[in-house]
Amino acid sequence: MFLAIYRKMLGDLSDPKSLVAYLLGFLGVLFFLTLGFTNEIPDAVASLPLGEQELALLEVYAPLGWLFAVGIGLLVAGALFVALTLATEAERGTLDLVLSKPVSRWEVLLATFLANVTFLVGLGIASLLLAAVVLYQMGGFSTAALGGGVFGVFPAFFLYTLVIAAFINAVGMAASVLTRNRLQTAALTGVVPVLFFGLFVARVFPGSVYENYSLYLFDVSYHFGNVFTVIYEAVVGQIPTAVQPRFGFWMGVYEVPDDPSAVDGSLELVGYVDPIVSLGLCLFLTVGLLGVALVKFQRLDI
């Protein structure tokens, strides 16, 4: 029964019309983002030694993947697609019949959650590969550079995608159960990407508001940057010093001096919050919100 619900929900998410509409918009954004990032690629990069090419590729691929594949791909798509499953069933009334069958409510919720996570991880991986292909085509790297610049960091991206997909879907499940309404579920889940991109802008632009008002506590992009850093270092190893300024600018993880090349060794962590705390917070919220959804769903009058 669990598998039947899982497959059914995965089928609902894989509606071809929604996917095509999403991907068309997605490709446009990818193209413009990649154009921006290619400005950072050295001229005649293919003529550089392989190690330098890999670093140059990683310098652009890591933030592009983080921002595009996971930031836009998972968070924005997650908010939209998560509303297509449980909230839609509850709103339309089809959930009545499912719950009148000999199936536990926790099975329905967890099967839906896992289907959503599977779908988003698939979407995230597809987006990461798409970003790699476009970057490779537009950047002029040699094929061999893909090994260290893309595939070497892929396990970290995969794990990161999994953690973020679980997080955004836990938010979505809680919103679905609390509202039982598609639009409200999408709107509530959409708070995550709004905080991600809104506070990303507040952080990147100069000014003291971000620190004075402790906005970093709510800066989803900063916390997710920390999460990615922890996972990267656990799975791949130390983040290369040449790449750290990129992590600093985009994810807010490192203090970036005016001249990063003058720094001997690793950059210092910004340290608003210890990266491991961000990961713990993310996992805690995922489990907590899923728990709230489960408890509420058990008692819900359909």
Binding site: M1, A4, I5, G93, T94, L97, K101, P102, V103
Partner: protein, 304 residues
């Protein structure tokens, strides 16, 4: 098969169901009658575990309502017809069959049900293109997938044509022969009384009458017949002299409304009275059925 004690459901300040005690025996077809908003659907939803009672106890098939063990033994067809519109009829039944603990091949069972519902030709058609009658059949069909011990059907013949209604009613009769219990609500009381064994009347969330159909109907103080003949004035005089007739009035359309405490005697005597006076009968309508009984009870409740 169904046992509730003090079953109550409140939604905020509104009490939808209040202190309902129900007993339905195995193999019965039990009619559940009430106006819109009387609490029928809420009660049915509590039997299936979709709604949690505010207080009271509910057991179905010997199990607490809403548990997996209880839901394995019941089939439920709700009043609202909401399906996955992009699924075909067969895919829908296969999916619901997988959730219904069907023994053996789910696909074969789905095809059997489609054939029985006369929907085989539409098996590959998207449910979104089904007519209201087809959807109603599909709702009843998905409830039957798991060969349930108890069928809970909320308005199962609504939107069906006469042929479809007859098919569903016949099927319900056959199921009870096999020991299945049916708990059914319907607005068409004249239809309901043709096949139910026991009945419960619900008004404003409370039971106002319950028991075997014969007993509930026989508790009527008097039955009415509406009669129209070739000379109603003369017929009225003749009827007033007959021992079984308690009173004769006229209605707005000029028909006679005859009240009798012995409807069988009156029904037997009427043809003789008519032929003895050489009168022609245009129509006669016996009004002592479920609908009139229900309205009488509501009237009595209102008077109190």
């Amino acid at each position: 098969m169904i046992e509730t004690r003090g079953l109550t459901k409140e939604f905020g300040d509104v009490t939808a169901v209040e202190d309902v005690d129900l007993d339905v025996e195995r193999g019965d077809i039990h009619g559940f009658v009430g106006h819109n908003g009387a609490g029928k659907t809420t009660t049915m939803q509590m039997l299936t575990g979709l709604v949690t009672p505010t207080s009271g106890e509910v057991r179905v098939c010997g199990e607490p309502a809403g548990t997996r063990a209880a839901n394995e033994k019941i089939g439920y067809a709700p009043q609202n017809l909401e399906f996955y519109e992009s699924m075909t009829g067969r895919d829908y039944l296969v999916y619901m069959g997988k959730l219904s603990a069907v023994n053996g091949s789910v696909r074969e069972r789905a095809d059997d049900v489609l054939e029985w519902l006369d929907l085989s030709d539409a098996a590959e058609q998207a449910v979104g293109g089904y007519s209201g009658g087809m959807l109603r059949k599909l709702a009843v069909g998905q409830a039957m997938l798991g060969d349930p011990e108890l069928l809970i059907l909320d308005e199962p013949t609504a939107a069906l044509d006469p042929e479809g209604r007859a098919m569903i009613i016949d099927a319900l009769g056959n199921l009870t022969d096999e020991g299945t219990t049916v708990f059914v609500s319907s607005h068409v009381l004249s239809e309901l009384e043709q096949f139910i064994d026991t009945v419960t009347f619900l008004n404003e969330g409370q039971i106002v009458a319950s028991g075997p159909l014969d007993e509930v109907l026989s508790s009527t103080a008097a039955e009415r017949f509406v009669v129209d003949a070739s000379d109603n004035d003369r017929l009225a005089d003749l009827l007033r002299d007959h021992g079984s007739v308690a009173g004769v009035d006229g209605d707005d359309e000029g028909n006679l409304v005859v009240t009798t405490e012995d409807p069988e005697d009156f029904a037997g005597a009427l043809p003789e009275i008519l032929s003895g006076a050489d009168l022609r009968l245009y129509f006669v309508d016996r009004q002592g059925g479920l609908e009139e009984r229900f309205l009488d009870i509501l009237e009595e409740e209102g008077a109190e």
